[in-house]
């Protein structure tokens, strides 16, 4: 499959927005879905629907096999050692909550420190904050530098003998900075500290190799990876899934249930309580196949060309200020425009069919640090083109016209 005309695989682009072609630059928020994924959901519900894992009839057996196939596909896609290291969740947010809650419950006590970075999304902060409230755990933040990066050194600086968890983003959803996970993990492990990676933006844009990164936990949102909404993945090293207590309790995750006590099921069941997102898991297999067909190297090459081009034209546009200038950057172009609030930009761009996001992008701490209340963000998917970025730039010039600024 050729990435240069991949747009045609996404039916959304057949539609007009305010009579304009859709220029979708909000993929960091959620990506559009290729036809194959949409079709798979349709076919599954129309011809093959059943719950998984519980019944032994024909439809149930087939659905269970397809469900477990996706687990294997994900395992291969991220090069995990064992398929049972893949746990399906509601989203990356749930995946991080799962880890914070179970790890915190078992291993953290008052005075222990969790090390985050100033780049973190609220989803990788609030769950840890709960442990501050319930257990007196302390939260530290590694500094972001002027280029919008968090370096290995700035993390090292904040590690103390009390640090019991490092939880960091793989790729910032605001500055686009890509963190050196492998080096950070090495450092952390040398001090016996586990590492959780918020891979929400890493997964759609980077080649993933869990055994190489060697992180302990990796959280993914499938809806940002050309997959259905309502599905996420927690990768966790097997020893953690074995050691940690279960998270939600319910059907499917138990061994034996008596009035006096309960035993829990084997992996991965232990962490998949209740009826799961059957259709979404089964359809997500198509997202992975789709990405594999394109080739993740081609995705990375394509997007890095776009990021470079985008930075180039926005830098030429005098009133645009790009946020962050990381050496290793992917996926997003955040900026401000002199004299025009990001919210006004987003509204005006929308009229030209250009969809971006304005606000703090769930990163208030970073925006406080940058001393801006909000920013505008154009974020990329595989379907974007240089033409899309030209249209973005033109639409920004239109903002200036409306606001009479230069």
């Amino acid at each position: 499959m050729n990435i240069d005309n991949i747009k045609k695989e996404f039916p959304i682009f057949n539609n007009k927005v305010h009579n304009n072609d859709l220029v979708y630059l909000d993929s960091a928020n959620s990506s559009q879905k290729p036809q194959v994924v949409i079709d798979r959901i349709y076919d599954f519900y129309s011809k093959e629907f059943s719950n998984v894992g519980r019944s032994v009839h024909y439809l149930a057996v087939a659905a269970t096999n397809m469900y477990e196939n996706t687990r294997v596909s994900v395992q291969k896609f991220i090069n995990a050692k064992d398929k049972n290291e893949i746990v399906f969740t509601k989203g990356a947010t749930e995946a991080i909550n799962l880890v914070a809650s179970t790890y915190g419950q078992k291993y953290l006590k008052s005075g222990d420190e969790v090390l985050l970075t100033e780049l973190e999304h609220h989803s990788n902060y609030v769950p840890w904050h709960y442990l501050r409230k319930s257990k007196g755990v302390k939260i530290e933040f590694a500094d972001v530098n002027d280029d919008g990066e968090v370096t290995l050194e700035s993390i090292e600086k904040k590690i103390t003998s009390k640090t019991k968890m490092i939880a960091i983003t793989h790729l910032s959803n605001v500055t686009g900075a890509i963190l050196s996970i492998k080096e950070i993990t090495e450092l952390a492990h040398s001090k016996n500290i586990p590492v959780l990676v918020d891979g929400c933006q890493g997964a759609p844009h980077l080649k993933l190799d869990m055994q190489d990164l060697d992180c302990d936990f990796y959280a993914i949102s499938c809806h940002k990876m050309y997959g259905p909404t309502g599905l996420g993945i927690l990768y966790a090293k097997k020893k953690w899934l074995e050691e940690l207590p279960p998270y939600q309790g319910g059907g499917g995750m138990i061994g034996e249930v008596k009035k006096e006590g309960i035993t829990y099921g084997d992996l991965p069941n232990k962490y998949e309580a209740g009826t799961m997102q059957t259709a979404q898991v089964i359809a997500f297999d198509e997202s992975i196949k789709f990405l594999n067909k394109i080739g993740i190297e081609n995705v990375m090459k394509h997007e890095s060309e776009l990021i470079n081009y985008g930075q180039e034209i926005l830098r030429k546009n005098n009133s645009v200020k790009l946020i962050g200038n990381p050496k290793n950057k992917g996926g997003v172009l955040s900026f401000t425009l002199d004299g025009i609030h990001p919210h006004d930009i987003a509204t005006i761009l929308d009229e030209d069919g250009v969809a971006i996001r304005a606000g703090h992008h769930c990163c208030q701490i970073l925006h406080d640090k940058l001393n801006i209340p909000a920013s505008a963000r154009a974020s990329l998917g595989i379907y974007n083109t240089k033409d899309d970025l030209d249209k973005l730039n033109n639409a920004l010039n239109n903002c200036k016209k409306i606001f009479n600024t230069k």
Binding site: K133, H343, D344, I348, Q364
Partner: protein, 156 residues
């Protein structure tokens, strides 16, 4: 074209050069408002005299053109009004922004009405209605002197 209705001259003017963007000396009522979606913040200061008349009103904050213009226009229109009159005006404005086609208030001159109606462009932009109403909700809470921030619970 709707954008022209949204960003009328008067809005752009008030957005860029908001009136009453300062802190009233000796204010005796105030409240903070916050829109978690976009990060807009506003802090409204009031000086009510013994007859419950608004002697001065001002605000501090930052936000988009719509929210700044709205705060600016609001503070202009509300000054020198009785508390009761102000409350009616707020209600009238909020009704208009949400559903009613027109203002019904009699306490404003035609000029003032035009000014206020310039904010009605947001009706076609549902996600922006909150920008236009934030200052007004904050004003209510300043008048009724509820201590909590609008849209914001206490820090946890």
């Amino acid at each position: 074209m709707n954008l022209k209705e949204l960003y009328q001259e008067i809005i752009l003017d008030h957005g860029k050069n908001p009136r009453n963007l300062r802190k009233t000396e000796n204010f005796n009522k105030d409240a903070k408002g916050h829109n978690p979606l976009c990060g807009d913040k506003v802090h409204v200061f009031l000086k009510l005299n013994e007859n419950k008349k608004i002697e001065d009103i001002s605000f501090e904050g930052s936000g988009c053109a719509i929210s700044m213009a709205s705060a600016s226009i609001m503070t202009d229109l509300v000054r020198d009004k009785e508390e009761k009159e102000a409350k009616d005006l707020i209600k009238d404005f909020l009704d208009m922004i949400k559903e009613k086609p027109e203002l019904v208030t009699k306490s404003l001159s035609e000029d003032e009405k035009t000014k206020l109606m310039s904010l009605s462009g947001v009706k076609k932009y549902p996600m922006r209605v909150k920008c236009a109403t934030l200052a007004w909700h904050t004003l209510i809470s300043a008048i009724t002197n509820s201590q909590e921030e609008i849209n914001t619970e206490k820090f946890d």
